[in-house]
């Protein structure tokens, strides 16, 4: 049985998404909605990571329940950088690149949740299926947010 592997991969991809969202948030703190929503949406992935660690124990995989936090010196440095370049239009291009990365990472997480849900049905693990049903819609919302932010920003950034 390879469910443990799937959980490990999902745990990794959720952590990566959380990290990307936190970085986007820190790097673009002068884009205030990105700053706040990046942190908010990262907290969803962080909660998923905790829940997955719990589920992993039933499939003999040891997953760290502590999600990435994005705290530390590096983060503080990125925040200063963000304030300094707030008036530089090149920062806007970076926003597109960063949010695009969030979108693609969230797509990966979404696929991983689908794989886990399929497996959960195969082994009739109602608890794992319920977890997928609770978390996967949030992943889809993270995707839609990133997609909407890209659409909203792209024209101004690319034609200005």
């Amino acid at each position: 049985m390879k469910i443990g592997m799937a959980l490990r991969e999902l745990h990794r991809s959720e952590n990566e998404l959380a990290r990307a969202l936190l970085e986007v948030s820190e790097r673009h703190r002068v884009d205030h909605d990105v700053f706040y929503l990046g942190r908010e949406l990262a907290s969803w992935s962080q909660a998923h990571v905790r829940a997955l660690a719990d589920a992993g124990s039933r499939y003999d995989v040891d997953l760290d329940p502590e999600p990435v936090t994005g705290q530390g010196l590096l983060a503080a440095a990125r925040e200063r950088w963000s304030d300094a370049v707030g008036r530089d239009p090149r920062a806007a291009l970076r926003l597109l690149v960063d949010v695009r990365e969030v979108y693609t990472l969230a797509c990966g997480v979404s696929v991983d949740w689908e794989l886990v849900a399929q497996a959960a049905q195969g082994v009739r693990d109602a608890e794992l299926l319920a977890l997928s049903k609770a978390c996967h819609p949030e992943t889809l919302r993270q995707m839609r947010w990133a997609n909407a932010k890209l659409k909203e920003s792209a024209t101004q950034i690319l034609v200005s």
Binding site: D31, H32, D33, G86, W145, A148, S160
Partner: protein, 821 residues
């Protein structure tokens, strides 16, 4: 009889019972020495200093405005006027009105003529269009122009310039009302009517200090409270407002917890099964999901999060859950707070699960803040597509392109309209290089003023300000265009409950000041905007022809004006849209029998995610709501982003007072109003004042992580742990002019740059703060009014009064048979 309208702002009671007609009481104030017999003529109009739409006639003598009188036959106010209506007109003839265009030369604003000023604006527009395209130009308008002006502006900006950067300061007052209505009903448009006050047995006011913001509507409620079988009032507000003082239940939640409160109320309503299952089955989608999600909520949990007594919360739930006729109103306490749209939507949800919408007394009033905000929204001057068309529905864009006779590609619908906070960001990074501001004052009214000043005063930004006074914002402009105002121009406007009023021209504008409509028409002509056949894009030439063009744009849309004409509006007094062949007398209530405007091919909006703000797609919406029902949506509670800490232990909320409007450009120039609230103050509870060892009149510094302001203390009935600052006070009447010099006083120095993800309305009510004593008072009380929410809870401060200068004649008449409803 005569009364002091400053000391007694709501006037004499005319009690009436449930289902009866609100009696007429005609209020009048004329300049000193002028009597009714002296007046040369009366010119029909309505109030421009709040959103209530009080109908009045302007008194003219010797070519000057000399006073106002309420229109007894009007459905909105039945003759009554509030203090701002009665005295605000004096600002029109203030000696410091702008009378000539100004341009910046050598760093100074100097007078010029219209040709040179408009030529500058046009040349800059054309240069930027050639160099960068429409994305370089932004428009930031107001909630105080007339319908015809907004429509013209919308056409000019969307189809002429072709920019998506169009917004109004309605973003600060009413964006959440529109967003919440779109979420629940698929379309903007106020479901209720003011006449619901006449029928209600429970009236719930959510974050709505109606006594001060819509004082005449509050008078209507006071008259019901004084009559037989009065309604029970439920008040949600952290301050002890006049509304709270009349309430059967007053909930004063911790700032930022409105969604928790609403989830608690809804959980109680559902737990007691105060639900109309038949209505829900036939007319609502989303109920099962709502019910499932609310299972984690209870009165206890909500009371805990909000820090309110659980028995009060239960009693409030019982009142709204069992009312025979429930009227709900919502305003800034929800709209300018954490999770604005999510909270306002839950008020709609209560009505939808109770299933009585569209019947007398069962209305929802998602209020507006400004007199013509409804028109900003419907005409598209807030960035939306004209006449509630749907940005993301290609057939709506094509239909609008047909009306305007332009190629659909001309209309920028590839992205949601750019709200003002995002426009500010684009100006900050340098991609918006031209911003045209009309009749609003962002240098006082937007959050985090240091940032606003720094962005708008950049050399690389060309700032045009169109206004009637040299406001803080006008002082830093590159071009200032002097505008005519209410009473000096003709047009129509629409209030909160969809009542359309005609407003006539009473006098000439001062100097070379021009109606805003004429300025837009001039710009369109000079820019040479054309339709796709080479004809003029803006083919109208005066207010009435603009109104006729607007009517065609609304044909078949929810805000249908096709049944109205200038003649009809002048012959009567106030008609509610939609008014068309099917409803020739207007429409009192929307959504009768569950008939919504939410069908996928007709609705204005498919909605947004309440937390992320991401738009719902057409495909998703069709799957969710194929048959055009109302939508109930659960919202998860998310705490405010700034929470009290050791360093900033208090929460700051900002707001209004009865006697001022916005940044006091008009009300400070009306002596009675200015005297009633002459300078800024800060409110603390008695508990906090004692804890800090401070007293009435002490000068305090109030600081947030962004800045500090100074204000004298009023010990009021506000919730513990919360301080309040009125947001009206800027710098135009201080020596420094447009920014603080030493001690700052504008509340928005302290507020945070953040907005609701759904409505994009800035959040003014959840910043953190700390206070410290700067200087003991000398016994002189603060300047806070005693008649309002700022009333002292201690003895000492004298009662606010206006004296003989504030005398108003009241004519309480017998009921008019078949009169105003």
């Amino acid at each position: 009889m005569s009364r002091d309208a400053i000391a007694a702002p709501w006037g004499t009671r005319t009690p009436y019972g449930r289902g009866e007609v609100w009696p007429v009481r005609v209020d009048m104030h004329l300049a000193d020495g002028v009597t009714e017999a002296d007046v040369d003529r009366w010119v029909q109009s309505a109030s421009i200093l709040h959103s209530n739409g009080d109908a009045l006639d302007i008194a003219v003598k010797d070519g000057r405005v000399v006073g106002v009188r309420g229109r007894g036959e009007d459905r909105v106010n039945h003759g009554r006027l509030g203090p701002k209506d009665l005295f605000g007109w004096q600002a029109n003839r203030s000696p410091d009105r702008l009378t000539r265009p100004l341009v910046r030369r050598g760093g100074r604003l100097v007078e010029t003529d219209w040709d040179e000023a408009m030529d500058l604006v046009v040349r800059r527009s054309q240069d930027l269009l050639a160099e960068q395209g429409p994305s370089a130009l932004g428009f930031y308008t107001t909630g105080q122009l007339f319908l015809e002006e907004y429509y013209t502006l919308g056409v000019v900006a969307h189809a002429g310039v072709g920019t998506p950067h169009v917004d109004g300061n309605t973003r600060l007052c009413t964006a959440t009302a529109a967003a919440a209505l779109k979420q629940s009903f698929g379309c903007d448009g106020q479901p209720g009517s003011y006449t619901d006050v006449d029928h209600a047995d429970v009236i719930a006011l959510y974050g709505h200090n109606m006594a001060e913001t819509q004082s005449v509507l509050w008078t209507r409620i006071l008259d019901r409270l004084a009559g037989p079988n009065p309604p029970a009032v439920v008040c949600v507000d952290p301050r002890l407002t006049p509304v709270a003082r009349e309430a059967a239940v007053h909930l004063a939640p911790r700032p930022g917890t409105n969604v928790a409160l609403m989830n608690g109320l809804l959980a109680e309503v559902i737990a007691h099964d105060w639900v109309d299952h038949d209505y829900v089955e036939r007319h609502v989608v989303g109920f099962d999901e709502l019910k499932e999600q609310l299972a984690t909520w209870s009165a206890d949990r909500a009371a805990d999060v909000c820090d309110v007594p659980v028995e009060d919360l239960r009693e409030a739930a019982r009142l709204v859950g069992t009312a025979d006729r429930l009227l709900s109103t919502v305003l800034q306490g929800f709209y300018q707070s954490n999770q604005a749209t999510a909270a306002a939507v839950q008020v709609n949800n209560i009505h939808l699960v109770r299933g009585r919408l569209g019947t007398p007394g069962n209305g929802i009033l998602q209020m507006n803040g400004q007199p013509t905000a409804q028109n900003t929204r419907e005409a598209g001057a807030d960035g939306d597509l004209a006449a509630f068309r749907n940005w993301t529905n290609e057939s709506h864009v094509a239909d609008l392109a047909r009306v305007w006779n332009v190629d659909p590609m001309t209309i920028p619908h590839y992205t949601p309209p750019t709200h003002v906070m995002q426009q500010l960001r684009y100006a900050e990074e340098g991609s918006i290089r031209f911003l045209w501001v009309q009749a609003t004052n962002p240098l006082v009214s937007l959050p985090e003023l240091h940032r606003v000043r720094s962005v708008l005063s950049q050399e690389r930004l060309f700032l045009v300000v169109q206004d009637i006074f040299l406001t803080e914002t006008a002082q830093i402009a590159d071009v200032v265009l002097p505008a005519a105002t209410w009473g000096e121009k003709e047009g129509t406007f629409t209030n909160v409950d969809r009542t359309v009023h005609y407003s006539g021209k009473a006098v000439e504008p001062p100097g070379e000041a021009r109606p805003d409509l004429d300025i837009f028409l001039d710009y369109a002509r000079r820019m040479g905007f054309q339709d796709k056949d080479g004809g003029p894009l803006v083919h109208w030439h005066d207010p009435e022809s603009a109104f006729e063009a607007w009517k065609e744009c609304t044909r078949g849309r929810p805000c249908d004006y096709t049944g109205l004409t200038y003649d009809r509006l002048q012959g009567g007094s106030g008609v509610q849209w939609p008014c068309n062949d099917r409803s020739p007398d207007g429409t009192e209530r929307l959504y009768v029998d569950g008939a919504f405007w939410s069908a996928p091919d007709y609705c204005e909006s498919y909605g947004r995610d309440l937390v992320t703000g991401a738009p719902v797609s057409q495909t998703e919406y069709k799957a969710l709501n194929p048959h055009g029902k109302a939508v109930v949506k659960y919202a998860r509670y998310v705490p405010p982003h700034e929470l009290p800490s050791e360093e900033y232990p208090l929460q700051l909320t900002t707001g209004r007072t009865l006697y001022h409007f916005h940044t006091r450009t008009k009300t400070a120039r009306a002596p009675q109003l200015q005297a009633a609230a002459p300078e800024v103050w800060v409110e603390m509870s008695a508990h906090d004042a004692d804890a800090y060892g401070v007293a009435e009149g002490d000068l305090l510094e109030v600081a947030s992580p962004r800045a500090a302001v100074q204000a004298r203390l009023r010990v009021s009935g506000i919730r513990r742990g919360v301080v309040f600052l009125p947001f009206h006070y800027g710098y135009w009447d201080t020596p420094s002019g447009h920014e603080p010099d030493g001690g700052a006083r504008a509340a928005n120095e302290l507020t945070v740059t953040e907005w609701d993800p759904c409505s994009k309305q800035p959040i003014f009510k959840t910043a953190v703060a700390r206070v410290r004593l700067l200087e003991r008072g000398d016994g002189t009380p603060s300047a806070a009014p005693s008649t309002t929410a700022s009333r002292s809870v201690r003895t000492g401060p004298p009662a606010t009064a206006g004296g003989p200068a504030a005398a108003v004649e009241e004519d309480v008449r017998a009921r008019v048979a078949g009169g105003a409803r």
